[in-house]
């Protein structure tokens, strides 16, 4: 029998199914779309495509390979391909959209078929109930190794025919045959010989007259196959034989006893297990990979596999898995690849987040107290700011008409208390909407403020805030020490996030307040929660206008923004003296004063924000420790130098400072 003959009359050992796309699907998802995926199944082997989200005509282009160990008409289960299109439900079970049921035997026999074709989707029972759409499949049958199967067959007989020398010959031949592999698509697999091939052959030989095209094989092997079949049947019941034959290929039986359903089932189970339990191919991916790598001396492996296949399940797990995984291996590997790539992508995406969170949560814990303090301070500051503003404006802008307006507003505000503030919030938020970043927003606020206030004053306020921030820093210096490293990292993030034309000190302190996320302070998020509702319920349009012009201290505003709770607490009908006089003194001191004081104190670091200062300190500490290390090194170096001097020319060390005055 020539190789050419074999390759002409080949029997698939595996089938590769590519699910390209689907169309005209029934819609089960929202907005007239599906989150569709497809399950590709042959017998118990299943693969799933990824989910094509929000589409009516999903495109997957994913493929799977299946072993066809029992590829013959008697084994319809093994020879039926199911492509089940599902909709991934957000809640509950995924929804069945339809399935394509393909008889692979028929398909294989149909030489005129198109490799890629549309298959109609039917209902769960396989009937056409309604229009479910179609799925485009590419189905290719593959043969891993023709000559190998021949070898198998011959080897199978070998124990009985005792032609052990022939075995070697056949082997050699088989090696040649490797190049004969039909499946160019599964090259890595091609070396491996599955007994399924042999089985298929044998079965088709043994079996029904309806099976075609075995002519040559049949003539050659039919008798043996028959014999073998009988034997294998008996072997299936006799537990002893296999051990004798274990190193040989007598165990072929698994696929051969198909005539009786029971036996078949039994063997199938065994075979299934042995073939690497191809049901769970995803999890097997690695193994199948391993198996591949081990397939180099496939001859022996196959022999052993065949021998141990049925009977010695545990004995040769490696070769067992090698065995039928090889053909399915491709599919499984791909499957795994897909999954892992998804997973890795996910993990990649999420990786930075946990890291950041970890840092920030640590920091958050550290700063909880400080945060509280700052909140309190902020509350006080709010009040202070309100009061301060009034004072300042009385002092400075008495002559200005705007001031009168503001005074009115303020009075109104005092009367309206919370309502007014809410409106202000909203007004501010409106402005803020135009801004992308938190700091930007604050800066904008400040700018609005500055329209009415002198630049000096705004500067002073910034400085004051800075001062406060640094004060809070001092208060939390304990934490600060611990925090430094984390902050250092975080600062990088923050700096990158918060690129501002002019760094706002207070936003810094706020940042440190909320290290976990900047979102809570994001005004946009707050809008629907706090302001809109309240505004709509409490406020009149007039209020809106007024309040939008109201020079509310930014800190108070920000504070309002930050937490609804605070805003509920904060508004008061009348400005109340801050609870903490010291603080208020510090904070309410007029901007001018502060400015003077600050300018007096100001060194090169005055303009730096808290974060920058911290960075600076950290950096300098690092520098210091580096220098310390350097000093130690130098000391050691000098020591050794001195040592050499002492030992070789101590006179050098004689005191030099003779001229010292007495």
């Amino acid at each position: 029998m020539s190789l050419a003959d074999q390759s002409q009359q080949w029997f698939p050992t595996s089938v590769q199914v590519t699910v390209h796309q689907a169309r005209n699907l029934r819609v089960k998802g929202k907005n007239g779309t599906n989150d569709a995926y497809a399950i590709i199944q042959v017998a118990k082997d299943k693969f799933s495509t990824s989910v094509a989200e929000k589409c009516v005509a999903p495109v997957w282009k994913e493929e799977a390979s299946f072993d066809l160990p029992l590829f013959h008409p008697g084994n319809t289960e093994r020879c039926t391909l199911y492509v089940i299109v599902m909709h991934r439900a957000q809640v509950g079970l995924d929804k069945f959209l339809g399935q394509a049921v393909v008889n692979l035997l028929d398909l294989h026999d149909n030489k005129s078929r198109k490799k890629t074709d549309w298959f109609k989707l039917v209902d769960k029972t396989g009937k056409e109930d309604k229009v479910r759409g179609e799925v485009m499949l590419d189905i290719q049958f593959m043969r891993n190794n023709m000559s190998a199967s021949m070898f198998d067959l011959s080897m199978q007989d070998k124990p009985r025919s005792r032609i052990s020398k022939l075995k070697d010959k056949v082997r050699g031949k088989k090696k040649d045959g490797f190049s004969d592999s039909v499946s160019a698509i599964v090259p890595s697999v091609s070396q491996v010989l599955t007994d399924s091939e042999g089985e298929a052959d044998a079965q088709s030989l043994n079996q029904s007259p309806g099976v075609k095209k075995k002519s040559k094989l049949k003539s050659l092997f039919a008798p043996k196959s028959n014999l073998q079949r009988n034997i294998s049947q008996s072997m299936s019941t006799l537990g002893t034989l296999p051990e004798k034959n274990s190193s040989l290929s007598g165990s072929r039986s698994s696929g051969l006893n198909i005539d009786s359903p029971e036996v078949k089932k039994k063997f199938k189970f065994l075979g299934h297990k042995r073939t690497g339990s191809s049901d769970s191919k995803v999890s097997q991916g690695p193994f199948s990979l391993l198996g591949r790598s081990k397939q180099s001396n496939s001859d022996l492996n196959n022999l052993c596999i065949n021998g141990s296949h049925v009977y010695a399940e545990e004995a040769e797990p490696k070769s067992g898995s090698t065995l039928s995984l090889n053909s399915s291996g491709q599919g499984s590997v791909e499957d795994v690849r897909k999954h892992t790539s998804d997973a890795s992508a996910d993990s990649l995406r999420s990786a930075p987040v946990p890291v950041y969170r970890r840092e920030s949560t640590d920091r958050a814990i550290l700063e909880q107290q400080r945060h509280q303090e700052e909140e309190e301070r902020r509350q006080a500051e709010e009040r202070r700011m309100a009061e301060e503003k009034r004072l300042e404006e009385e002092e400075r802008y008495r002559a200005e008409a705007k001031r009168l307006q503001e005074e009115e507003e303020r009075r109104y505000q005092e009367e309206q208390g919370r309502k007014r503030r809410l409106i202000e919030d909203e007004a501010r938020r409106k402005k803020q909407k135009e801004e992308e970043e938190e700091r930007r927003k604050q800066e904008e606020e400040r700018r609005i403020e500055n329209q009415r206030l002198e630049e000096e004053r705004s500067k002073a306020e910034e400085q004051k805030r800075q001062e406060e921030a640094s004060m809070s820093d001092r208060l939390s210096s304990l934490f600060g020490m611990i925090r430094k490293k984390e902050e250092k990292k975080e600062e990088v993030q923050q700096h990158s996030k918060e690129e501002l034309p002019t760094p706002a000190p207070r936003s810094d302190s706020r940042d440190s307040d909320q290290p976990i996320s900047h979102h809570p302070t994001n005004p946009f998020e707050d809008i629907p929660l706090s302001s809109d509702l309240r505004v709509s319920s409490n406020e009149s349009p007039a209020d809106h206008q007024k309040s939008s012009h109201n020079p509310q201290p930014p800190s108070a505003m920000v504070f309002l923004n930050r937490t609804a709770k605070v805003s509920a607490v904060k508004p008061r009908p009348h400005p109340v003296k801050p609870l903490t006089p010291v603080e208020s003194q510090h904070a309410t001191s007029t901007p001018g004063k502060i400015k003077v004081a600050n300018s007096g104190e100001s060194g090169p670091y005055t303009q730096l924000t808290q974060e920058e200062l911290i960075t600076l300190v950290v950096k300098q500490q690092t520098d210091l420790s580096r220098k310390d290390a350097k000093i130690v090194e130098l000391e050691e170096y000098i020591d050794n130098l001195v040592l050499r001097v002492i030992e070789e020319k101590p006179s050098i060390l004689q005191a030099i400072n003779h001229a010292k005055p007495v």
Binding site: E635, E636, I638, D639, N640, V642, L643, I646, E647, E648, K649, P650, S651, L653, Q654, A655, I656, H658, A659, K660, P661, V662
Partner: protein, 209 residues
């Protein structure tokens, strides 16, 4: 008195100064070797020595007094510093009790690295600061007796007992016999030879006077 201008000598005696920082070691050294005292002397950095040639009995002896700082922790030079020393002045400040308390630790350090026969004198310096004294003479004397040390209170400022202290150490209460072995070792370990040292010494003397 002879400040060491003598070219010829029989022996080089190495003496080390040890004790806490600020007790006046360097000033004791400069007082003894150069008859100098510096009010604003800085902390000694590194290692240096000064020499002075003196007559002991019938011998001309070149005293090589070593001074250092930073030996609180072990360093590469620690061993070298003590090696070959025939005598040591363990100095403390009578006005600073802590410097006295650490004497025991210094003693241990000394015995760890120096010749076991080394002659050690406990020196209470800054005797001129009598009003600030926190270390009673008796206490220190008792301690020295207990440890087998010589004892003396000095003042590098007013030169009290400086000469005597060095002389006693160089002579050794227990006699030169004991230190002979060390002496030879010192001589051997000084490959420079007498001439160059003496010259250096002389030069130094000239410039200072």
């Amino acid at each position: 008195r002879n400040m060491g201008s003598d070219d010829s000598y029989n022996f080089v005696f190495k003496v080390v100064l040890i004790g806490e920082s600020g007790v006046g070691k360097s000033n004791l050294l400069s007082r003894f070797t150069k008859n100098e005292f510096s009010h604003d002397s800085r902390t000694t950095i590194g290692v240096e020595f000064s020499t002075r040639t003196i007559q002991l009995d019938n011998f001309t002896i070149k005293a090589q007094i070593w001074d250092t700082a930073g030996l609180e922790r072990y360093r590469a030079i620690t061993s070298a510093y003590y090696r070959g020393a025939v005598g040591a002045l363990l100095v403390y400040d009578i006005s600073k009790h802590l410097t006295y308390e650490s004497a025991e630790r210094w003693l241990k350090e000394l015995y760890d690295h120096a010749d076991p026969h080394i002659v050690v004198m406990l020196v209470g310096n800054k005797r001129d600061l009598e009003t600030l004294r926190t270390v009673p003479s008796e206490e220190a004397k008792d301690f020295a007796d207990k440890k087998g040390l010589m004892f003396m209170e000095t003042s590098a400022l007013d030169s009290t007992n400086v000469e005597v202290a060095f002389h006693e150490v160089l002579t050794g209460k227990r006699g030169l016999k004991v230190t002979r072995g060390s002496i030879s070792a010192v001589t051997i370990s000084n490959p420079l030879g007498p001439t160059s040292e003496a010259q250096e010494e002389r030069r130094g003397c000239c410039s200072s006077s």
